[in-house]
Symmetry: C2
Subunit: 226 residues, 2 copies
DNA sequence: ATTCCGCTTCGTCAATCGCCAAACATGCGG
DNA sequence: CCGCATGTTTGGCGATTGACGAAGCGGAAT
């Protein structure tokens, strides 16, 4: 749930020119004293100090992770004052969810996780992909302005695109075809029917086309587990 | 310039349940072989492998940083194929810029960096702030829908808010006053005039109000240097 | 079948980190 | 001036990392 914030904090610390000061910045934001933070971590306060003052030049990522996660989950456990104030806002209402995987996952795994039936592209199932986007097809078409299409693609474009609210399955594939950047996997969630044209287009673009009859909620749950 | 992407990669690696695989994911995205990456780093290929396979349980952040920055800058130096494909897209056109500082900076430093004159709140100048947002006042008012106001605040709300295109300086402060989350510093960039009401409101909210007659470009340059 | 290639595994060694305990410094109320 | 709390510094010891290079493995190309 707080993965976003956690990653952000960690990333900032790692590439900072002075990781120590950045760490301190976050500790201050969370309004914790070195001692308090140390006690949460179950270590000596000097350890926290060591990091902040840079005596430990290149702390392990394990340590950084522990620090960051400790702060976030402590705050969360105490009402989440700080955490909620930084929550993700943003977002076009047509985009239900955008996630990146921490590691590359073969398309086959995704398909299985969402109970999908492959309609086209059976021969590309081992390709790894790195994230997914879930879009409301209707709203996307009515509310997207040119630039928004770019948003659908998160950080990697080797990704899966899920559409809800699909009637015949033509327009989404046409949109995909028209767009210069292509996903590797397109999945319709509980579509009405799926037009033949859709799978033809998919084959042309060498995209794996899949349908699933699970609900959006079930799909999301399946994806979370990956 | 690629700080955003760099941070994201680093953050993802640090919090990943298997940093090695995540690292590999990124190497693959950048289409580098272990050998190639190793040569860029000036180390033996086996080193890269050791990281990816997790023999180093908790590599130092220095190492992670080097890896990540090497990939990004290599790609950038060779046309930036990958990097540009992941560039920041998104964003409301009213928001010119959103940045976070790596460390907390006293308000006074910011004011100085942008050549500002303090109009209210002289007694809060040492307070640290953690980021800034630059907004086009006119466009904000006409194009923002409720939710967008949340966007103005990046990750930390202990931040500075800069407005361009200010006529009298009333509306921006009224918007700030109406909003539940407050910035610590509000700065008008080349405002027409600044209404007395603005500084009154600022005092009420204990916000430091500043004006600068530098151009937007100069202000941005000043902020970059911090 | 042999050679290449990229990736993996492993033993090794110096440099560095992770952590503690105890000393040091600073600030605050009495 | 003293205690007391909080944060900083220091010395040191064992565990781990960062790096190398040799050797092994499996698939693709010759």
């Amino acid at each position: 749930m707080d993965a976003q914030l956690t990653r952000r904090m960690a990333g900032e610390i790692v590439v900072s020119d002075s990781p120590g000061e950045t760490l301190r910045k976050w500790r201050e934001i969370f309004q914790l004293s070195q001692k308090h933070l140390a006690s949460l971590l179950g270590v000596n306060p000097s350890v926290v100090c060591d990091f902040e003052k840079g005596r430990r030049r290149s702390p392990g990522i394990g340590t950084v992770r522990r620090l960051v996660e400790t702060m976030v989950s402590y705050d969360r456990a105490h009402g989440g004052r700080i955490v909620t104030s930084m929550e993700g806002q943003q977002g076009n209402s047509a985009i239900t969810s955008i996630q990146e995987f921490a590691i590359g996952l073969p398309i086959a795994n995704i398909v299985e996780a969402v109970g999908g039936k492959v309609l086209a592209g059976e021969d590309e199932l081992e390709r790894p992909i790195y994230g997914y986007t879930i879009v409301d097809a209707l709203r996307a078409i009515t509310t997207f302005s040119g630039a928004n299409f770019g948003q659908m693609y998160g950080w990697s474009n080797e990704r899966a695109l899920f559409f809800t609210g699909v009637k015949f399955g033509r327009s989404p594939m046409i949109a995909v075809r028209a767009h210069p950047v292509k996903p590797r996997l397109v999945c319709y969630i509980q579509p009405g029917s799926v037009d033949k044209l859709a799978s033809t287009l998919a084959k042309m673009e060498r995209i794996v086309l899949v349908r699933t009859d699970l609900s959006l909620g079930q799909v999301q749950a399946g994806l979370e587990k990956l």
